[in-house]
Symmetry: D2
């Protein structure tokens, strides 16, 4: 048969299994979002809530597809996903897992654009890159997510001050960068408060903490919806306008009463992890 | 600073460079297209030209983005891309190249859906997976693409006969599979001709050969358009209805007069390669 | 300069770092020892103590060279080494670590042949292969060494029975294999005792448990020698005839009072690990 | 069975196949030979012929073991081996090939020490490290070996001048390094000739060219010996004192009349390769 003579080329496809029993973290980053994409689509500065919610939705669709993802964290144009260490999805093949997640995220992002940006045309197809990193211990997994959330804080404080100087203070971007050079967190907080009357702690948690996506037990939440929840703790308030229509495709057994939920809360301290032991242990 | 304490987690990000001076082939496959996607969107059988053209457009957008891709070949829900062996794109980092291509392809697919499927809603975000395979010699690169095109022929002949039996012959799918079991090419050709009056050679080359995307010199073709060309040879006929609006984003120098062009022609024989030495050599 | 023009070939040397903070296990196996080497050198069956002690000495020389190895286990013609998970030896380069250990082991084996085989010529240079396997958790490291020691037990019981049948029972090797086919441990024990008067538990622990090499605190042992100790527990008895001349090349600080010590004891149960927490933790 | 419960640890042994149809170059380097080994064994400077011949013998033993190695090149304490690109030895498993070669080389080195260093004790077991590098084309393979031979020339010219200054010129090593700093080849040649009466071209080719090991057809050479040949060309002179006792373990068919032969000749120019097409092509 015609195909047979050439089929030997498959021998060049080498296996790429990921080490078993090790946490898989997969991080996605927007391609040229900062420079190009945000300008062409006139995204609000320092944060565009529509864009952040679209990222959350794309990430949630990934979590719906891969029930072995126990946690996701997003900020700006990036999102990180944690697979439980025992996962055997796609036999732990690196490229298969990596590309399927990146593709699903991208697809969902474009697919849901119109929902989050009503009246705004998507001018060209945006793309993301991704990488997989293995982490062998609980400690380093927690440190990874702490690293990203600390980054969120640092970037958001800077950007909040920067755009206040530009938008309110009528400075050029060059002047604003100059004004912030070498300042520490306390100084940026002070500048925001004294010059612009902004108490940084009043900035929404979504901006200050990023998006933390988990699988929560349904309990007292309405069963048909997944929900964005501001903050995280006992007194969750479901905001109707944040409702995402996602369905739990879990096999219905143990996960029957969980749903993908977006929080904006601290994950550096122990509390978050203590309340959700399922994220790191089996 | 808060971020510093955790930044050590970056040490777990290991390098993944691809061997230099070696051809990079990247193949993308649709995720559950055969089983689910084509049914939910009622794609025509055995081939849906709209879907094939959308694939071509997504592949063309990848070639626009990566000027070091010299050839692409697609059939059904898969596409293969060939990077020239000297490419240093993204410093030949495996995951970076792989995910950016898969993401761009996916994004373009969803972005251009409405253009190719007017009046048909995309029901959910489709995804693709991808892999990179290295090929060290010209011979094995040619054999790779021959393998895919031979596969196109085999699959399309089977599917043409199968769906003729089902659609014209009113057989069940089980009966149709049974009828074709063990038949060779000649027998399928005969069946098509004798029972359904179909001369397989009259099936459009797009179906029989797949899509071959190259960078052609512009010459006598209108400069503002890239074109789908049926067959491949000296007497190309640009079909207006196949026009794709793609722009060459090459830096304008050497590539100023080339454009991404979709052909449906044989690439197993020498002729195709002899006419396009740039594909394999530098 | 002449070298410059060709130096680009170094770009093909790709990095191969091992995942940080993960246990490194390196296992060495003799090349054709069972079939060829043991016959040509007329090694005693089922075990040749000279050969086992030579393996122990080669392994000890590796542990002298790499102070980040905390444990080694050997049986027959194989040896496994455990590097502590935080080791940064050779920047965790896979090939560098792997080949240096295998080379040192081989070199020491040939170098010390005459000492352990007085009057027996080494007929040709023996070789070993090796591999590195990463293990992310304490549990799986322990299970690895348990796997090897269980293997030692299974093989030694079989071989003891097999060679009793051949040497004492005057059976052919084919008959002996046939006699043992399908027997379980209890049946082999019974066969040894009833037919040959051998109580398997009286077989030296070296044969039944393999060699466990650790870094013991010097305490009451003579400082100038490392020692082979039968069994492992509180009441160690240093056997003079087992003395190995190995010197601790540790930098003299923390390790000043430890020495490489060969034990023949159980490492499947907790006791071994509970007494030596330094093996797995930092 | 006891072993079964733990056998899952084998799942952590990941495959490591080398890309097919690609040249495999394996380079071995002595561990601390320059600093420590050569001093402790009082090797002659700038070159010790005994040590070089021992390296050649160890390399020859590797070529005897692996008939798919078509070329080796050595200088000082390093040796490079070229496997033909179609080799399927050990199913192209990286660690298996790498460690077996390094181990065999090491073993042969220690095993044959006494033969080449009569009356000189080996003071401790020397070790080597190794790495595998893949090269996809003939050109880059040739450039690799040219790189190593150019390196031989550069190092040997420097060392010849350096040790002349120290041994004949009674300079300290610091003074000698200082005297040579920034000099080019012509200046070093001049220095050797004018101050020490040494015509560098009279230095034996072994020193200036390194060792080139090939499989030569036996032709007019005595069948029972492999030979060291000075230079390389039509008028080879077999030097009896250089005879190596190596046996061709090839299956006797095609290779029946070839033998492993050590040359000291140029391999940068085309002549060497033109005369031996079998090295690079199949």
């Amino acid at each position: 048969m015609a195909g047979t003579r050439f089929a030997y080329v498959r021998n060049f496809e080498l296996p790429d299994p990921l080490l078993p029993d090790t946490y898989i973290v997969l991080r996605i980053d927007g391609h040229s979002f900062h420079r190009q994409f945000s300008e062409e689509h006139e995204l609000a500065k320092p944060n565009d809530v529509r864009a952040l919610k679209l990222m959350d939705e794309a990430a949630s669709s990934v979590m719906e597809m891969f029930t072995d993802i126990t946690l996701a964290f997003g900020e700006s144009d990036e999102f990180s996903f944690l697979f439980k260490k025992s996962t055997n999805v796609y036999n732990r093949r690196n490229a298969k897992i990596l590309t399927t997640v990146v593709s699903q995220f991208t697809s969902s992002y474009v697919f849901n654009w119109a929902k989050h940006f009503p009246g705004v045309s998507l001018k060209y197809p945006p793309s993301f890159d991704g990488r997989i990193v293995l982490y062998p211990t609980e400690k380093v997994v927690r440190d990874y997510f702490s690293w990203r959330q600390a980054d969120t804080h640092i970037n958001n404080l800077y950007n909040t001050a920067f755009w206040a100087l530009v938008q309110e203070g009528k400075q050029t971007t060059t002047q604003a960068h100059e004004a912030l050079r070498g300042t520490n967190s306390a100084q940026k907080n002070q500048l925001l408060f004294e010059r612009f009357g902004i108490n940084y702690n009043d900035v929404p948690e979504r901006m200050r903490k990023g998006s933390v996506i988990v699988r929560e037990e349904a309990r007292d939440l309405p069963l048909s919806v997944a929900s964005f929840v501001d903050g995280c703790g006992g007194d969750k308030v479901v905001k109707e306008e944040d409702t995402l229509e996602v369905k739990d495709k879990g096999k219905g057994r143990k996960r029957a009463s969980t749903r993908v939920t977006v929080l904006h809360c601290d994950l550096i301290r122990d509390e978050f992890w203590d309340e959700r032991p399922y994220i790191l242990s089996e």
